[in-house]
């Protein structure tokens, strides 16, 4: 078990190192997320009456779109550099490769969110980062990373990579987007946990299903 974890860690470390050198993903994804939020502000008239109602939706749309952008890099980069076969030749189970790639994407996404969510609060006059939002962001991002990594690998093998990922990913992300929006709306409105417990349950259910399913079918995706 620890041996496997070590291997997963090595794959994560590989991606983190590559990211530290280029700062490709975190920077571009972060900037993109901020841009989406700014565009939303133009669309909704800042300070308007109903901004509290649409704010959580805008936040998650920004995060999801930016995340899709980042996810595109996860496997496309490996394909472009021709490093995917090398990664697959590693003497580790496919599940470990999946877990490593997913954990790295999860890390990058969380980093971006740690910056974007408070900024979002600043722009829209909402609480900067309510503690109750932390588990929601974690769960939603985990589900996003699990499904995103799987479909990133699927899309990377097709001819029009960057186009296929959102087309495949967004429809299956509907439960994550809905429950993340629902739960964070409740949090921003200061409601107690009981009010949005079902949303959190949906998130957990999605995470579990996707982690198990993705880890299982991943080997078929990367099979050459």
């Amino acid at each position: 078990m620890t041996a496997i974890l070590g291997k997963v860690g090595a794959i994560v470390w590989k991606d983190v190192l590559a990211e530290l050198r280029t700062k490709d993903i975190v920077l571009s994804v972060g900037v993109f997320a901020v841009l989406v939020i700014i565009v939303f502000n133009f669309a909704f008239q800042p300070g308007a009456q109903g901004i509290g109602a649409v704010a959580p939706g805008a936040l998650w749309v920004a995060v999801v779109f930016a995340g899709v952008l980042g996810m595109n890099r996860a496997f496309v980069l490996e394909k472009e550099r021709g490093t995917l076969p090398g990664l697959l030749l590693c003497p580790v189970p496919r599940e470990a490769i999946f877990a490593g790639k997913m954990a790295a994407s999860l890390l990058f996404m969380l980093l971006v969110e740690a910056a974007v969510v408070p900024l979002f609060g600043v722009f829209l006059g909402l609480p900067l980062f309510p503690p109750a939002l932390v588990p929601i962001v974690l769960l939603a991002t985990l589900g996003f990373a699990a499904a995103g990594t799987l479909f990133s690998a699927v899309a990377a093998s097709s001819r029009s990579r960057e186009l296929m990922l959102p087309i495949l990913l967004l429809p299956v992300l509907v439960p994550v987007i809905l429950s993340a929006v629902g739960a964070s709306a409740a949090v921003f409105a200061g409601e107690p946990f009981g009010e949005y417990r079902t949303w959190v349950q949906v998130l957990i259910g999605f995470d579990v299903v996707y982690l198990v399913l993705s880890a299982w079918v991943f080997e078929y995706v990367v099979q050459e």
Partner: protein
Amino acid sequence: MVDARAGQRPSPRVEGRAAGLGWGVGALLVATAAVMVVALYMALVWAPPERLQGQVYRIFFFHVPVSWVAYLAFAVTFAGGLAYLRSGRASWDRAAAASAEVGVVFTTLSLVTGSIWGKPILNAWWGWDVRLTTTLVLWLIYLGYLMIRAYAAEQAQGARLAAVVGVVGFVVVPINFFSIRLWRGLHPGPNIGTEGGLEIEGAMAATLFVSLAAVTLLYITLLVARIRLRSLTDAVGEIKARLGVGGIR
């Protein structure tokens, strides 16, 4: 087969099998047409007008079966994809892909006819209710399934990737449904798929049953015809590959 003597010709066996399916399509076509005529007569003439909705409700006699059979089609794609991933046999993939195609067509019909019904009854072409939204999402997932097949660099890879999309996409359906229902709030109890509160009486139920049979037969016919076309295409592709004239596919 008369030209079994053309033994060195590649894959006469595959062609023969496709020809056999051709006969199957013919027989199915006759059965489907017969049941379909009865179903159309019952739906458009025989069934009495509905008390509240008048004549428009007759859309339901096809809208409801088409929606149900679309789900059936995606279930077949799911099972076929699973079997293909397990066994790697191209015939499973052909069945899964053919079913997805028919499923997408049926889902399109379901969405369009539902929309056409909604305009006069609910005074809106579209409403973001649970069923509509779930169906729309499902439609998008299987469009993705067909696209990933079409855009794959090589056929076997496209089949594998599509199978993964088909399997994963189908598993999410219940979570999708549940989350969308939560999002919309609890919905009034369904009465065979209507928000307009359709009153089903004996003649209507019988009509619905017959048209369900007709649509299911139509699905099977289209499925078999599409599988047959796919195996022909694959056979031709195989021959071309063997002759070294492939790559234009």
